[in-house]
């Protein structure tokens, strides 16, 4: 550690103003603060600080996604060999999955961070840490067979138009990872939807439909069991299949206090309430599907834990978070059941509510001000 510190201190002058690599200042600063907690000290006034900063926050989120990622790799291999009808052991599965998933992660980080570094450099900013998480989330929400160049285009689009044009990390209106997915979904539907893409190099004779795909066409005969869907032995995007692994991530996020439990709980509540409402209505077979099935199918759990809770794009007020989360859950199930073009509603539901989050906050704050004014009047009058 000490040797590394010394080495960095020795290189530092080259990258500061006047040094020969001063045009790489942001990049150098990015690497330095990545390795060591920055030694900036506040000089004025009293501040209470703990040791957590943006980089540490982001790393915790990345850690929380690891269970889903590792299970996802295993499942990619498992589903592939299952479709071929071969029986394989754990290591073969995970080896095959790693071959598929690692390039996706590499491309996602290389393209996204490249653009982030470039923007930071020309603006003379420090490098934003936000992409550490986005770059991890994107591989988890795409199908394992996604062509890498298409992924690169989507990542570039998401980082530039989802984030940089708004002013970078912390200023974006919608979740950049979901922007990437929405871009893929609308631009290259052949690689993002249907029955063919969810299992890597699937055998042609094997049905690769996800539970959501089956539900949409009314095929409930060979439906996956609840426990399969909860554990994640189903085809789907890389990291979204296993609700169990996502819940482990959720525990990490909640224990460290990084994600808001208000949002998480209310998303699940919203989905459940909407599902029960459909059960009660029961106009077709999809509506009669038990409400709790909705919580483990497709990307619902993943969206609730990792996407809806994004502190930048979700509502900021406590009451606003309940409303925001609840509506995400309601919308997701609503879109699933009603819209034949979109089997999965979670992505669109979160993007929609991201846009509405500032409005929700506005009204929550307004109503709070009104309530307090009323209290003041009562106090003055009495």
């Amino acid at each position: 550690m000490k040797a590394l510190r010394k080495f960095i201190d020795k290189q530092k002058p080259h990258f500061q103003k006047g040094g020969k690599f001063h045009w790489l200042e942001s990049t150098f600063d990015g690497f330095e603060t990545f390795l060591f907690v920055p030694n900036t000290v506040t000089t004025k006034g009293a501040h209470i600080r703990d040791s957590i900063d943006m980089k540490r926050t982001m790393i915790v989120v990345v850690l929380a996604t690891l269970p889903a990622l590792i299970f996802g790799m295993w499942n990619v291999g498992y589903q592939h060999f299952l479709s071929l009808g071969e029986t394989t052991d754990f290591w073969q599965n995970i080896g095959y999955g790693a071959l598929k998933v690692v390039p996706i992660i590499v491309v996602s980080y290389a393209v996204g961070l490249g653009i982030e570094f470039y923007f930071a450099q020309i603006k003379g900013h420090e490098i934003n840490e936000g992409y550490l998480v986005t770059g991890m989330l994107i591989p988890l929400i795409v199908p394992p067979d996604i062509p890498l160049w298409i992924l690169a285009v989507a990542v570039a689009f998401a980082v530039i138009f989802g984030k940089e044009v708004f002013g970078g990390t912390g200023m974006n209106v919608v979740n950049p990872a979901l922007v990437a997915r929405a871009f893929l979904f609308f631009a290259y539907p052949g690689d993002m939807s249907g029955d063919k893409v969810w299992i890597a190099e699937k055998a042609d004779t094997f049905s690769g439909a996800t539970p959501l795909g089956n539900a949409l066409v009314g095929n409930f005969n060979h439906f996956h069991s609840f426990s399969d869907m909860f554990m994640g032995f189903i085809p789907g995007s890389v990291g979204e299949t296993s609700t169990l692994m996502i819940l482990i991530g959720a525990v990490i996020l909640l224990y460290t206090g990084i994600a808001s439990w208000r949002v998480m709980v209310s998303v699940f509540a919203g989905g459940l309430v909407m599902g029960l409402l459909f059960n009660w209505w029961g106009a077709n077979e999809y509506m009669e599907l038990p409400a709790y099935y909705h919580l483990v199918m497709g990307g619902f759990a993943f969206g609730a834990v990792f996407m809806a809770t994004d502190p930048v794009t979700s509502a900021q007020t406590a009451r606003g978070k309940y409303i925001y989360g609840f509506l995400v859950g309601v919308m997701a199930v609503l879109i699933r059941v009603f819209n034949p073009a979109y089997p999965e509603g979670m992505m669109l539901a979160i993007l929609l509510m991201n846009v509405f989050a500032p409005l929700i906050d506005h009204y929550v704050i307004e109503s709070n001000i009104k309530k307090r004014l009323k209290r003041l009047k009562v106090a003055v009058n009495s």
Binding site: P147, V153, V165, F183, F186, A187, Y188, D191
Partner: protein
């Protein structure tokens, strides 16, 4: 002032030519005045309709600018909008009929958007801002200039949308088959209207980067 001392301004004086060139860049109706965005989204999925649309707007705008400019001293202030609309509507119907008669296919692709030129903000904007206070010849040039500026942006957007969205230009395949064999695919999002808006945004971005004084404070 006698007729000899006051020289007539030449038809293509520098000031008049400015009326044509300024809307192409510094005073562009779409990217700077932000007028006529709606049709820029609607008709730019392919190059051909975009060009036909630009020509139609040019004819309507130039002629109604001249007509309104001729009438400008006789129009009562309180009903000027109605008079302007009558002029525009007449021109739009004429253009629509001509398109239906001679280029029926494209007229069908443009569908209601030719009729909707009536509501194109560029028309009302230019009539109100320019034709009501200027002589016919400058008004004519202003109409041509603004329609050219509008058309320029439309063609740029349509070029990228058709190239990336359908892999064609003027309906000819320009992206070689070898690309597709390698796994290249057309971008379906480019066909959808949101990408037109984003393309306009990118054009504005590039333009303001090159002309710093256009950036709003």
């Amino acid at each position: 002032m006698s007729a000899e001392t006051k020289e007539r301004e030449p038809l293509f004086s520098a000031k008049n030519m400015k009326l044509v060139t300024k809307p192409l860049n510094m005073d562009n109706p779409i990217t700077v005045q932000v007028l006529g965005i709606c049709s820029a989204l609607a008709v730019t999925a392919k190059l051909k309709p975009a060009i036909v649309m630009s020509i139609s707007v040019m004819v309507v705008l130039a002629v109604s600018n001249v007509v309104v400019s001729l009438l400008r001293n006789g129009i009562p202030q309180r009903i000027r909008i109605i008079v302007q609309l009558v002029v525009i509507a007449t021109m739009v119907i004429l253009v629509d009929q001509v398109l239906k008669a001679f280029v029926y296919d494209i007229s069908k692709q443009l569908s209601v958007f030719v009729g909707l030129i009536i509501t194109n903000c560029i028309l009302m904007g230019r009539l109100e801002a320019f034709a009501m206070g200027n002589k016919p010849w400058p008004a004519f040039l202003d109409g041509i200039g603004n329609a050219l500026g509008y058309g320029l942006i439309l063609v740029i957007i349509a070029f990228f949308r058709e190239l990336l969205g359908s892999g064609t230009l003027f309906d000819y395949h320009v992206i070689p088959q070898a690309f597709y064999d390698f796994g290249y695919k057309n971008n379906g999002l480019m066909i959808l209207p949101p990408m037109a808006l984003i393309t306009v945004g990118v054009i504005i971005w590039i333009q303001r980067n090159r002309n710093r004084d256009l950036i709003e404070k």
